[in-house]
């Protein structure tokens, strides 16, 4: 289990999230929902979109065709 830290969010948003979970399910706690959404938004180390060599070649080809290079 990864180490946890405490963060503060607005009460209003917390209540909204709590109600969302109660009505829609999917998560046991607001903490789980927040952790999941942050993970989705930021991506894991492996998922973080970087320019791969292949992507860079694709872009180079396009920039050549566009006349920038």
């Amino acid at each position: 289990m990864a180490e946890k830290v405490t963060i503060a969010i607005s009460k209003e948003l917390y209540e909204k999230a709590k109600q969302f979970i109660e009505e829609q399910g999917g998560f046991n706690t607001v903490e789980e929902l927040v952790e999941f959404l942050l993970q989705e938004a930021l991506g894991t180390e492996e998922e973080t979109p970087e320019m791969s060599k292949e992507d860079e070649e694709k872009v180079k080809e396009r920039l050549r065709a566009l006349g920038y290079i």
């Binding site: 930021l42 991506g43 970087e50 566009l66 920038y68």
Partner: protein
């Protein structure tokens, strides 16, 4: 209370269109706003090119400070190049600044924003995105929502083609796609600052300028092609009128471009010229090369080469400096003298009829307060940008009427537009002269934070 701002970025729109009767004719609605706006002639950066110009505008940093001198760069000692992306922009942007103040931002098509970075709001990346299968939005789930509502995202077109009918069709499809997406985002999402950069304008200019600009040396009226640039303008104008009516009435509207556009007089084969002048030596016979051959590392006789160049809308020239390059031939003690001699020679290049050109070759330190990243030794503009420097080989002449990489009607120009329409009338209207592109960020920040 901060002000809400919508920035409509029209890539390469020149003052000679927006601020003249052409603007009134083709942008009737936007022209009406411009007439009621605070208006500037926007002076672009060195070099006046999409990348780095938009980021210079939105960071307030010159390309030297950003360390971004174009799309491609070369690490010292390497012949090949790498492409910049959003990660290359380390300076704070106006959307970072706004996010830290709790303002929500919306970005669409600002180059280069791929790969997408987290913002306090949402973003859709730009034409440097490798493809629509890539994660190109923030938050990541926005992509599916956007595609479901507006169809697949079209990032760019290939316009350097002789099949102009296809180019026109694809261009208008791309424009409609962008306008649909921006309307969706601008009317359904929460934002305080929305920045939309529309690249279709630039693509229309490059592909169809000679059918539009009557002063173009190769101007031709064509029943179909001459309608394309006006049609792009018209669609944007009509779309914006509808969108503007849906935005809160106190929204400040900014119309801005990153550089201007003008007729391309031709392309000059710079590496061929360097060969003739003895600066560049090949191991192969240049006369035996096919027209359009790229300069390759294995082709060059490095021991006898002093300099080589990259083409584009401007040229970057590199000295084959010993200690820096793999097979450097110029001793460091001769660097200064070699560079200055080369500069003098480059600035003396004349036109095809021996006419005088206004060439300028700058050392990066002369034009930027700071020089970061991987700068070239010289940055060269031929005939005040009218002639495009080309890097390929194998041509029977150094002067081409057309570009070396396929048809292109236009080159970039130094001046773009910047206008601010404030419905609350807190800004003085009228012409305010010139504004440098790197000053726009602070001007926008003042507008956003001013109290009504």
């Amino acid at each position: 209370m901060t002000r809400r701002v919508f920035v409509l970025g029209l890539d390469s729109l020149p003052p000679s269109v927006l601020y003249t009767e052409l603007g009134e004719r083709y942008f009737p609605y936007i022209s009406g706003l411009v007439a009621e706006s605070q208006r500037y002639i926007m002076r672009s950066c060195h070099p006046p090119i999409t990348v780095p110009a938009w980021m210079t505008m939105f960071t307030g940093k010159t390309p030297g400070e950003l360390g971004v001198y174009g799309f491609r760069h070369r690490r010292p000692g390497e012949f090949s190049y790498y492409i910049v992306n959003s990660r290359s922009i380390r300076a704070e942007t106006i959307w970072d600044w706004a996010g830290k103040r709790g303002l929500r931002v919306g970005l669409y098509g600002v180059p280069p924003t791929y790969p997408p970075k987290p913002v306090h709001g949402f973003m859709v990346t730009d034409f440097t995105t490798p493809g629509p299968e890539k994660p190109y939005t923030f938050p990541p789930w926005l992509r599916k929502e956007l595609e479901a509502a507006t169809g697949p995202t079209r990032f760019d077109i290939v316009y350097r083609s002789h099949d102009k009918s296809r180019v026109a069709r694809e261009l208008l499809q791309m424009l409609d796609n962008h306008l649909r997406q921006v309307e969706y985002l601008a009317t359904r999402k929460q934002w305080d600052i929305f920045i939309h950069v529309e690249i279709s304008v630039d693509r229309a200019h490059h592909a169809f300028w000679r059918y539009f600009d009557k002063t173009h040396p190769r101007y031709e009226h064509h029943p179909e092609y001459s309608k394309v640039v006006p049609e792009v303008y018209r669609r944007i104008d009509e779309w914006f009128e509808k969108l503007h009516r849906k935005l809160p009435r106190d929204t400040v509207i900014v119309i801005v471009s990153d550089h201007g556009i003008k007729a391309m007089k031709g392309a000059f084969l710079l590496n061929q010229w360097l060969i003739e002048q003895g600066y560049l030596k090949l191991k192969v016979d240049p006369a035996g090369l096919k027209p359009g051959t790229d300069l390759r590392e294995d082709m060059v006789d490095w021991e006898h080469t002093i300099a080589w160049a990259w083409g584009g809308y401007y040229s970057r020239v590199f000295i084959n400096l010993k200690g820096r390059e793999k097979k450097g031939a110029v001793e460091p003690k001769y660097y200064e003298e070699t560079l200055e001699q080369l500069r003098r020679d480059l600035e003396k290049i004349k036109g095809p009829s021996n006419e005088q050109w206004l060439n300028k070759a700058y050392r990066p330190a002369e034009i930027y307060p700071e020089v970061n990243g991987d700068p070239p030794d010289l940055m060269l503009y031929l005939d005040d940008l009218w002639w495009r420097p080309a890097g390929t080989l194998g041509w029977p002449t150094n002067y081409l009427e057309e570009n070396d990489r396929g048809p292109d009607d236009a080159v970039h120009d130094w001046h773009g537009v910047y206008t601010v329409y404030d419905p609350e009338e807190t800004l003085e209207k009228g012409n305010r002269g010139e504004i440098r592109i790197e000053k726009i960020r602070s001007h926008l920040e003042q507008i956003i934070t001013q109290h009504k």
